[in-house]
């Protein structure tokens, strides 16, 4: 298994930029293409790439399955909580206008938090499905 030196070095080179690009796509989604779903897909793909090259055990040490399985419902919860915050601040469900002192800032906050929720769920679901598939040995 020492023959994959090129793969290991290339992965180590690419991976930081991949995760950074995911953060960029996430936070810059207001201004350019992207958003929570795309960033989550890229981040999930980054973790999966790491697991493919360095082995499942190494990936599980860095991103433990328990954390992943917590993140899957956590993202939905963040999204729903932002929606409920619209109620508490005096608007309709998922109405962001009252989250900050003026409606435009409220909208920006709402979109940012909602995209965060989407990111958490999407990335965690990708990794969780990958773990579920690869965690099983060959059954026959």
């Amino acid at each position: 298994m020492r023959l994959d030196l090129i793969l290991r070095v290339a992965t180590k080179l690419i991976l930081p930029f991949m995760l950074l690009f995911a953060v960029y796509v996430q936070l810059h989604g207001d201004y350019s293409a992207g958003g929570g779903f795309q960033a989550g897909a890229i981040a999930g793909a980054g973790v999966i790439l790491y697991a493919l090259v360095f082995g499942l055990a190494a990936a599980r040490r860095i991103v433990p399955p328990a954390l992943v399985e917590t993140m899957v419902p956590l993202g939905v919860f963040i999204f729903a909580a932002v929606g409920a915050a619209g109620w508490l601040t005096g608007g309709n469900y998922l109405e962001y206008n009252y989250l900050a002192h003026d409606p435009v800032h409220g909208q920006e906050w709402g979109v940012l938090l909602v995209e965060l929720g989407v990111f958490v769920t999407v990335s965690a679901t990708m990794v969780a499905i990958f773990y579920a598939f690869t965690g099983r040995g060959r059954s026959r």
Binding site: A33, A45, Y96, V111, A132, G135
Partner: protein, 173 residues
């Protein structure tokens, strides 16, 4: 090239080759979508369809056999089903509004969102503001769908090793 790849996917019997071909198909699809000025969809297609999807298909192949089993039916039953589906779809397509008509509901909403996005939300990327703000409830639904899919796969696949002996050949594909 898309058509050639699709035909190859249908014809090739080795499922590992099919996995690679479907990855190629996803990359070409991402290029097509990029040409159509939808970089968001292209990003998703490249990351999910070509990357993660292929990994998951290969992972599923590892759990099963790598060769397609011979067909159990003759050629007539699938053909009747395909022709029936095509007939229903063509009938439904005859009811859709004409392509590119400016008074269609889809195209009529567009300029409204474009005009309202910056003054109301301060977000220059209209795709983001429509997704997260104007259509926030739909996006919440999508997130719940992804959540449900993840939970379903976990429930199907994540069993304790002791119980693996007794189960059939059901796979969460």
């Amino acid at each position: 090239m898309l058509a050639v790849t699709t035909l190859a996917i249908v014809r090739v019997r080795n499922l590992f080759a099919v996995a690679v071909l479907s990855s190629i198909y996803s990359f070409m699809m991402a290029t097509v979508v990029l040409v159509l000025d939808a970089p968001d969809v292209a990003l998703t297609e490249a990351a999910v369809g070509a990357g993660v999807g292929t990994v998951l298909i290969v992972g599923a192949l590892y759990l099963t056999k790598t060769d397609e089993s011979p067909p159990v039916h003759g050629v007539f039953l699938p053909m009747i089903v395909a022709a029936g589906t095509a007939a229903v779809l063509l009938f439904a397509a005859s009811e859709t509004p004409p392509f590119g008509n400016p008074s269609n509901p889809v195209t009529a909403m567009g300029p409204d969102y474009v005009a309202r996005s910056i003054p109301e939300t301060g977000i220059p990327n209209v795709v983001s503001s429509v997704l997260a703000s104007y259509r926030g409830f739909d996006t919440l639904g999508e997130t719940v769908v992804i959540f449900t899919a993840g939970i379903a796969v976990l429930m199907l696949l994540k069993r304790s090793p002791a119980r693996r002996r007794g189960e059939g050949d059901k796979k969460g594909e």
